[in-house]
Symmetry: C2
Subunit: 284 residues, 2 copies
Amino acid sequence: MIAGGVGSLPFRRVAVLGPGLIGGSVALALQRAGTASVVVWSAQADELLAARMAGFATEESLVALARRADLFVLCVPVGAMLPVSGELVPHLAPEATVTDVGSVKAPLERELRPLLGDRFVGAHPIAGSERSGFGAARADLFEDARCFVVPSPDAARTTAVERFWGALGCRPSRIGAEEHDAIVARTSHLAHATAALLLHAIERDRPNALEFAGPGLRDTSRLASSDAVLWTGILMANRDEVRAALSSLAFETGRLQELLKPGREAELGEYLELARDARKRIPG
Amino acid sequence: MIAGGVGSLPFRRVAVLGPGLIGGSVALALQRAGTASVVVWSAQADELLAARMAGFATEESLVALARRADLFVLCVPVGAMLPVSGELVPHLAPEATVTDVGSVKAPLERELRPLLGDRFVGAHPIAGSERSGFGAARADLFEDARCFVVPSPDAARTTAVERFWGALGCRPSRIGAEEHDAIVARTSHLAHATAALLLHAIERDRPNALEFAGPGLRDTSRLASSDAVLWTGILMANRDEVRAALSSLAFETGRLQELLKPGREAELGEYLELARDARKRIPG
């Protein structure tokens, strides 16, 4: 169930730009909540068709879209946020609000804030899967998911955007853009990178080994099945933090190699036990 | 369903030593298949009680156990295989067969082969979860799982043990002990190690980050919730191969850091795409 339901939504007309996994789930969650007007925009004909077949109004023109909503939810890949916003902004009403779902926040603050001003309230719902596209979208994707919100100088807009994400089922959490990027570099981007590294390391040593793998490696490497183009954009946008996180991974790899020596069983056991304890702090 | 059912089991009386996650699942799969006699041994009173409450005959004495079965399935931790076998072997009938579920095979060949001779047919079913203990055991744990079998010099015994694991639902696959250990160092042990490394790297950089993690990191780090004592034994027993695998992980980490530089988007995309393709080769 959508917490609060349609009555609590602070925006009457919502435009979703980019109906992939996340954007499609935003649209479906709004549809389920009974939002009066949802309009879906995409630059891709197949995405527009999928949205239309799911019962959504669609729009191909950003100029026309600009007048059809009070809230615009940017769900395009990180690298497309700036060009899409650039086309949209000259036609937006002053009272329009823009939020997004981008996995990095500091680069978007730098790019979109000068363009959109106080109208922009960046967000990042921590939800998703390794699947992509409208076909993988789900109305319940955001239920009980944390949603980072980077405050705009306009406090009322910030609150309204928090209420919007809350109405989709999220638990909003305010954060600065730099702090956000440092955290997700570890909890999300490093995890994606590690899944890819692990597969490359196995391939390097034993090209035939993967056919013998079981459910453990399948889960550990799940994120490597994510969309490669999308993740190239995300990792590049946050590359300084991700490289720093990879340095810590390399440091820990060296530490573990030292513990895999005769007589260091107790320390190795403690290392594994600490990791086990740490994992208990991941919510859900 | 157990493939073939009870009629195809080449052993009438089976002893399961160590009814944890794997041993308990062996016992439950045998029970479901209607095996005439299953007896469970453990050095731990709570495990014996759990097995008795699930309807199994139990035995506390290895001396007495030696006469109660035709097949002995060693499901104790890797480090306990040798002492348990040492107590059992003086009392075993010459025609008795011993198999195991150890995650390493070369060290066990070195330790158990001189003691057990041709009676020993090492095995390793690729099944499990991060949970442990009899409470996590499941009769269907082995369904469609690959089971490595290291041939004994006695071909008939090797075939009989393959049929045994096949009757529990596994797909048996013959392999040399060294080759086995090199493969599982990558597909299983490196994956476990990486889950722990990842959590330690995050903790090193941002001790508060884990509370913001989502389903991606939860899956990537799932194996870190495994039993730390059990995995200390496994990683130590296969330490040379695991250290070599960790060196490959470190090499790939350095490669990825190089790709996270401006202008290398295309190479980064290719790197992620190759990992994505590799993951498709993991069965299931």
